[in-house]
């Protein structure tokens, strides 16, 4: 039977990469002394599954490598062996090595054989020399060709409880008959009287003669499953009337065929397959079930409505309204459930940090403890994928520039071990991710002076704290006096900010000198839907993302000022907000409000600054599905996308940072 084993490869790779992550997490916990027996079991199980799968799906090198890890872990599990810090290091490196091998197998990239060898040897060294025999010589039940045709005398007496293991003597005898010509006698002497007969028990035994060239091993193999539940003796029949009676090819011979290695596909084809993998998503059955239930209810509502429509009169108006309300509810629930499918816990991103913090702090000679909260907070898959790199950079930054060397910490009266916290939680309609360290904090003066030096700030200019911190995210800005290979020289902080902004998010910095810093990232729950405020400008409606709105005000004449060369401002409490007139920026000729007093100001926040967006009127708030303007047209400055309103018309979504750039 020709089965294309490749169809299972994708699933195998997916679960194996997950298994490797599980192993890594488990090993790190083990290292921190936080592991219980179940943790060790979990690590073992992951290795075991990878080994079993890679052997079955034809990745022998991976199976061999995993085998030795598994053996080691098995000993740990059985309490024969304890893993010290350096052994865990070796295992962690081996996990990396396996990941490399797995990646190579999945996308056709090259395997670094040296690395495999080094790690393999390191594992061997831990295990001890006695285990150096070639791993996993796959036990193919090879039928050794016993030379001459023989005859065997077989005595087979199943125990009384034989059948209670799902065994069947007929099965055994039938299989024996495939090995050669079988004859024999059944001994029924032990069968009790019918009245005493328990049909669940076994009372028969057999004396059999097998002629043909079956090997002893092949016969033993037939009895392999039942040797504990029966008395078996196999001996060579010397009388040798070895007149070969059509020896049937034993099924075990077929079974001994080596696993076919399907390596025919080109690397290109495999790479293509990988690209497909990255866009797939694994969804929990419960989420799918929710969805199916929801669709079921929607179908019921729909059929109810269509029945109502077939024979409608005004007396049934109430029923119709009821139905429509139900439809509205179901549609909304369905939408929520569909969005739910795209949601994955942030632990997918967080899980890489324990390893990273461990490796980096070891490298830098710092003592750092990582504390994570809210790993189960869910985010849109696209957001999760894109937030990984910025987070890595920020955590590296905290390790490198935030946490001090142990001596410096002790000198400052702090605990020797520094702490980095990763927190994820919901706030409003957003997800907030905080990276907190109890390190030396950010020296505002240093930043300010550096900003002046770099020409980013006018000397003597008064800056709010947040504005000073924002300098950190300016391209090319760095305060590290030494270049380290950890966070480099300010390369990337600007990219961090750009990436976060491109996700519709924002980053805020808080710091107290000597006590530590908090980088707080605010992200939308999803990229596909946003809560918007509809506003009218002239004959058109625009949507302002609710996240960027602080408040809306009706401006009064006395609060408005013209600043020479800087345009109009609005005094909100103690702050002077620059005013952005949408009608001017977009050249909308038919705007109703010409004078600021006649319209409304929507106070928005961007880059830590406030602006007043001038519009004719505020309309409703609603959730909108974001559609691209670029797929059929092109990008328009000040517009982040479009959406379709309830009446089928199109409304454009304002890009607040873009509008601010336009006004400059």
């Amino acid at each position: 039977m020709a089965i294309d084993m490749e169809q299972f490869h994708q699933v195998f790779f997916e679960e194996s990469f997950e298994g490797l992550d599980v192993m890594e997490t488990g090993l790190l916990n083990l290292d921190n002394g936080e592991a219980d027996d179940e943790e060790i079991n979990t690590i073992f199980r992951a290795a075991h599954s990878i080994k079993g799968g890679s052997g079955t799906f034809g990745f022998q090198a991976i199976a061999d490598f995993t085998h030795i890890m598994e053996t080691l872990l098995d000993e740990v599990r059985d309490g024969i062996r304890e893993l010290n810090h350096s052994a865990i290091n070796v295992l962690l490196k081996s996990v990396d090595c396996l990941r490399m091998m797995m990646t190579a197998a999945s996308d056709g990239s090259d395997v670094n054989d040296d690395e495999v060898k080094i790690n393999f040897d390191a594992l061997q060294t831990i295990l001890g020399a006695e285990n150096t025999s070639a791993p996993v010589a796959a036990k193919t039940v090879a039928v050794a060709a016993d030379n001459a045709a023989k005859a065997w005398k077989i005595s087979f007496s199943p125990h009384k409880n034989f059948m209670q293991f799902g065994n069947d003597p007929i099965r055994v005898i039938r299989e024996l008959s495939t090995l050669g010509s079988l004859s024999g006698q059944v001994d029924t002497s032990k069968v009790p009287d019918f009245s005493d007969l328990n049909p669940e028990d076994m009372f028969l035994s057999w004396d059999l003669q097998l002629k043909g060239d079956a090997s002893k091993a092949a016969i033993d193999d037939v009895f392999a499953w039942v040797e504990d539940e029966s008395d078996i003796s196999v001996s060579e029949l010397k009388s040798a009337e070895a007149s070969v009676s059509q020896p049937v090819a034993a099924p075990v011979t077929q079974a001994a065929q080596p696993i076919e290695k399907k390596t025919t596909t080109t690397a290109a084809a495999e790479k293509k397959e990988k690209a497909a993998v990255s866009s797939s998503i694994r969804v929990g059955i419960d989420k799918i079930d929710d969805l199916i239930n929801m669709v079921g209810e929607l179908v019921i509502t729909q059929s109810m409505l269509s029945m109502l429509g077939e024979d409608f009169n005004m007396s049934r108006l109430e029923k119709l309204q009821e139905g429509l309300i139900q439809l509205d509810r179901h549609t909304r629930e369905l939408q929520e459930s569909v969005m739910q499918i795209r949601m994955v816990p942030i632990s997918f991103t967080f899980s890489r940090f324990p390893r990273m913090v461990r490796d980096l702090s070891e490298k830098l000679g710092k003592n750092i403890e990582l504390v994570m909260h809210g790993e189960n907070t869910e985010l849109d898959k696209t957001v999760i994928e894109k937030i990984g790199d910025p987070l890595v950079h920020l955590v590296r930054n905290s390790i490198d520039h935030g946490i001090e060397m142990p001596e410096a910490r002790i000198a400052a009266g702090k605990p020797k071990v520094g702490t980095i916290q990763l927190n994820a939680f919901h706030r409003g309609g957003n997800i907030v991710i905080e990276i907190t360290d109890d390190g030396k904090g950010i020296d505002k003066e240093v930043i300010y002076n550096k900003g002046v030096e770099k020409g980013l700030v006018e000397a003597g200019a008064k800056l709010a704290d947040q504005q000073i911190y924002d300098l950190l995210f300016n391209p090319g800005f760095s305060t590290a006096t030494e270049i380290t290979d950890v966070s480099g020289r300010g390369v990337g902080m600007d990219v961090v900010k750009k990436n976060i902004m491109s996700l519709g998010g924002a980053i805020e910095t808080h710091s107290v000198k000597g006590q530590g810093s908090i980088f707080s990232i605010r992200l939308p729950l999803t990229l596909a839907i946003l809560d918007g405020q509809s506003v009218a400008v002239g004959g058109d409606n625009y949507i302002i993302p609710l996240v960027s709105i602080v408040e809306s005000v009706q401006p009064k004449k006395e609060q408005l000022n013209m600043v020479a060369g800087k345009g109009e401002t609005y005094k909100l409490r103690d702050e002077y907000l620059p005013i952005l007139r949408v009608c001017d920026l977009f050249n909308i000729p038919d705007a109703k409000a010409k004078k600021l007093e006649d319209g409304l100001l929507v106070v928005v926040e961007a880059d830590g600054k406030h602006f007043g967006v001038f519009v004719d009127d505020l309309l409703g708030q609603q959730q909108v599905v974001i559609k691209s303007l670029e797929s059929n047209y092109k990008r328009i400055e000040g517009i982040s996308g479009a959406t379709i309103l309830g009446d089928g018309s199109v409304a454009l979504i304002l890009d607040i940072p873009g509008l601010i750039r336009m006004s400059d």
Binding site: G539, D540, N541, L585, F586, N587, I588, K627, S628, L629, S631, N632, Y633, K634, I636, E637, G638, I639, A642, I644, G648, S649, V650, A651, L652
Partner: protein
């Protein structure tokens, strides 16, 4: 909207087996007749209000919701610098598939024309190379000229129009 596919037989070869050439949807625009490859035509719609796009050329009337996709609508009179007229009952939006030629992505756009005229066959041999007009008239968007029932037909190069609209 009538999209009469009947041929004017007196002007075309009567032999039905003859290769009649490609089919073109013809439409009028300020007393001129234009043709567009019918395979590019997705649908015809009456004029309806669109959502304006800020800071776009005047000929880009705005965007429309076409079964969930946001589709730009171009006024061809304005695009070709012809006299602008009000939209009437016969004003039609031809929804076209356009190839941007770079990544092979199909795009959709609508063009506003005065009215739909006919569907005609035009063989390659009927299509003349576009004569070089004076520099006043852009001829890049015309792939050739053809004669349909004695009327000169300007065949529209749909893909070229896309890049000319700054959308490519």
């Amino acid at each position: 909207m009538s999209t009469d596919v009947e041929l004017k037989n007196d002007e075309l070869p009567l032999d039905s087996d003859a290769d009649l050439g490609d089919e073109y949807l013809t439409f009028s625009l300020a007393d001129e007749e234009y043709g567009v490859d019918i395979l590019r035509v997705q649908e015809l719609r009456g004029w309806e209000a669109v959502t304006r796009i800020p800071n776009s050329p005047a000929f880009v009337k705005g965007v429309l919701n076409l079964r969930g996709a946001i589709v730009p609508i171009i006024d061809l009179r304005e695009r070709f610098n012809l006299t602008v007229s009000d939209y009437t009952e016969t004003t039609v939006v031809i929804v076209l598939s356009v190839n941007d030629g770079r990544d092979g992505n199909e795009r959709t756009m609508g063009v506003v024309v005065d009215s739909i005229s006919d569907v005609v066959h035009a063989k390659l041999s009927d299509i003349q190379a576009t004569p070089q007009f004076g520099s006043a008239l852009d001829t890049e968007y015309i792939s050739g000229l053809a004669d349909a029932n004695g009327v000169m037909l300007m065949l529209l190069n749909v893909d070229a129009m896309l890049s000319m609209n700054g959308m490519g």
